[in-house]
């Protein structure tokens, strides 16, 4: 099977190691991974902040670039929702681009969804010893309705003890531009998340979105806590 990887600008620029592990996981699953170096950002930051004109131009670019791909895998719930859910919103008054956006959205899969739903993967070869806890990223959970898939995958990893934190579905307070515009509220929400992570005693917190992870990591690091943040691919690729 051939799949195109859209790593997202955050992974590309901040977390290349996540990208490397993504490629590894996909290859282990027998997927022929393609990466278009023309890719940049899906336009979500502009879209969420209300700058739809700018978001539209990036969305158009994305559509042109990825239209020919059969399958597109995105390791982020929010970027995958941007393409699947919000591109059609952006082009709702442009029938041609709307049709193209809708066609594209059919081919987009979030990473864990791709592995579980499309490839039917149930076992993984990796090993990772220790307690981990999983944070549900909001867009992944509520725009894409992905809840079970990442848990299934994590539980399949040898040595992993998955401890659910209280209210894992609660937002971490990131919200993109929200974390800057309403930074105090954002920090207060994050604190609650951090307290709940700490209460599980896990050494690692896993999510499917590096945006949330970056936010959580920022709080953990400021408070000199040693709990690590990991994208799910990093756990699935560990040996």
């Amino acid at each position: 099977m051939k799949a195109h990887l859209f790593v997202t600008c955050l992974v590309d620029q901040f977390f290349p190691e996540v990208g490397i592990d993504l490629v590894k996981c996909l290859r282990l699953a027998g997927v022929e991974v393609h990466f278009l170096t023309g890719q940049t950002c899906c336009g979500q930051p502009a879209f969420n902040n209300g700058f739809w004109r700018e978001a539209r131009s990036l969305a158009k670019r994305f559509i042109y670039l990825f239209e020919k791909a059969d399958l597109i895998v995105i390791p982020s719930g929010s970027c995958a929702s941007m393409v699947k859910v919000f591109y059609p919103v952006l082009f709702k008054d442009d029938p041609i681009l709307l049709a193209r956006a809708q066609a594209l959205s059919q081919k987009v899969y979030e990473f864990s969804e791709f592995l579980v739903k499309l490839l039917g993967i149930e076992t993984v070869a990796s090993k990772y010893t220790g307690k981990i806890t999983y944070h549900d990223s909001c867009h992944l959970l509520r725009e894409l309705k992905i809840y079970e898939e990442p848990r299934k995958l994590l539980k399949a990893v040898k040595g992993v003890e998955l401890v659910e934190m209280e209210n894992s579905e609660a937002c971490c307070g990131f919200g993109g531009i929200f974390s800057i515009k309403n930074s105090d509220i954002s920090a207060a929400i994050l604190q609650e998340k951090i307290d709940r992570i700490r209460a599980t005693d896990a050494k690692v917190v896993v999510a499917n979105d590096v945006g949330c992870l970056m936010h959580i990591a920022g709080g953990l690091s400021r408070q000199n806590l040693t709990i690590k943040t990991r994208h799910i691919a990093q756990i699935l690729a560990a040996d």
Partner: protein
């Protein structure tokens, strides 16, 4: 000073810095959410019910004129009077005329968000009337000279000690902080008011077009008193409250109390059709229904926002909202707080005045998931943000706006072309150097300082992923060749 929507950031900060408020909020929202979860679980056909409720609202609102006219004629048939108010002041004046005609001195009120919306209490007090809120929460808030901070639990922000102090100060009671005693005080004080009142004013949870029936849902009994004892009953309702038939009510009676307070049914549901009939001993002699627009038609004409009119005012979206949980209702500076408030306040008071509200959300979507009528709040907030971003003329003297615009445009230019993207990522790596200490960034210039104030920032990686990919491709090609 009254809180205003323009002041959201300041008000939010005040709330965050108030430890007793933080405690009260977290306790109360957790409690209501737990109760709701238990009550909702009992509904085996929850999704069907939600779909049905939404469909009823959709179809009614789509033919709003028809149903409002039917409601009007049925209310009249039952002996009630109907008044159509386009703006807040129309409703105010109508009530003022009525007050004058009846020589009224004392007005008792059952909880009504609409009356808050049109500032009715202040208006009537200026006319020299005594206006008494009778819902316990509202009574507390009124004594404190505040506004309700939650649709369902108006005094959610107050602890029992604060209420006891307030009662002591305003009513001269013992400063006993026992909740049952405080409740007893309210019972005694308000009982007399009910018997003396000249006019009772309530909102409406639903109005049934088919029968001209006003439906009111409550737990305390204050609404029953308000609708039974005073000789005049005034119902203030927004245009969106009408539903077609009594049969339609079932689905809402199953969803509303469960979502609002976690109850199967509240203590009292009153179905009121016209004033008292011949031979009846109590009930009002006159019933006036005021149908209020006050900006709702603006929402109606906006396809992207229309579904906000389906709201049942259950308050569930407030309880689940991570932002509301932290800042409480007063921070929003609007009668309607929380996620749904952030959607309907801008069209009601003006988008520019309420410009902070659409951004007062992480867009986490928990509000949509919990909403009994599945209102897509996050998507509407996005629409409102879009409406704001191009209002340059309103933002002429707002430097923050221009900075944001400049950053967005520069950023999107960089993202639009691979060469520029690569160049930009190199420049960014140079720029971050002075801030990088021990693989951490703990200080950044404005506006990013807002992040680093409480969180570290992840530095850009030494090499982007794409460089790795290109190297990897090259070496595997070399490999192939070598084979």
């Amino acid at each position: 000073m009254k809180n205003k929507p323009d002041n959201f950031h300041f008000q939010a900060k005040t709330a965050l810095n108030n430890p007793s408020l933080q405690q009260a909020l977290s306790k109360a929202t957790t409690h209501i959410l737990n109760k709701r979860a238990r009550a909702i679980q009992e509904l085996t056909d929850l999704e069907t019910l939600r779909d049905r409720a939404r469909r009823i609202k959709e179809q009614t609102i789509a033919q709003l004129n028809h149903y409002l006219l039917q409601l009007e004629s049925e209310v009249r048939k039952a002996g009630g009077k109907v008044y159509w108010a386009r703006e807040a002041r129309d409703a105010q004046r109508y009530i003022a005329k009525l007050v004058k005609q009846k020589k009224a001195q004392l007005v008792v009120k059952g909880k009504s968000m609409v009356s808050e919306e049109i500032g009715l209490n202040e208006y009537l007090e200026k006319l020299g009337l005594e206006v008494v809120e009778t819902d316990l929460g509202e009574y507390i808030v009124q004594l404190a000279g505040e506004r309700p901070s939650h649709i369902i639990a108006p005094a959610i922000h107050k602890s029992r000690e604060e209420v006891a102090l307030l009662f002591q100060k305003k009513l001269g009671t013992n400063p006993e902080a026992e909740i049952s005693k405080l409740t007893q005080v309210a019972r005694e004080r308000l009982r007399e008011k009910f018997f003396q009142a000249d006019i009772g004013i309530t909102g409406a949870n639903f109005a049934i077009a088919e029968t001209g029936t006003i439906v009111l849902v409550e737990n305390e009994g204050n609404i029953r008193f308000t609708t039974s004892l005073p000789p005049v009953h005034i119902v203030l309702m927004g245009i969106e409250k009408v539903i077609p038939t009594l049969a339609d009510l079932v689905v809402f009676l199953k969803l509303l109390p469960r979502s609002a307070t976690g109850q199967k049914l509240p203590s009292y549901v009153s179905l009121i059709t016209g004033p008292r009939r011949d031979g009846e001993k109590d009930g009002p002699e006159e019933l006036h229904l005021i149908i209020l627009d006050n900006g709702r038609s603006r929402i109606l004409s906006e396809p992207a926002l229309r579904e906000s009119l389906y709201c049942l005012r259950c308050g569930a979206c407030l309880n689940i909202c991570p932002v509301y949980q932290k800042v409480g209702g007063h921070a929003y500076g609007s009668v309607y707080a929380g996620p749904i408030g952030s959607v309907i306040t801008p069209p009601l008071v003006g988008l520019y005045r309420a410009r902070a509200l659409p951004y007062a959300s992480t867009l986490c979507g928990a509000c949509r998931d919990i909403c009994p009528v599945k209102i897509n709040i996050p998507h509407m907030l996005l629409q409102l943000r879009q409406g704001l971003s191009y209002r340059w003329n309103r933002n002429l003297i707002n430097p923050g706006y221009w900075l944001e615009k400049l950053l967005t445009i520069t950023w999107s230019m960089g993202m639009k072309d691979e060469g520029r993207y690569r160049f930009g990522s190199k420049v960014a790596r140079l720029l971050q150097r002075p801030f990088l200490k021990k693989q951490k960034i703990s200080h950044l210039p404005y506006p990013f300082s807002r992040w680093t104030k409480s969180r570290d920032f992840t530095p850009l990686a030494a090499k982007p992923f794409r460089i790795w990919w290109e190297d990897n491709q090259r070496s595997s090609k070399d490999h192939e060749r070598a084979d």
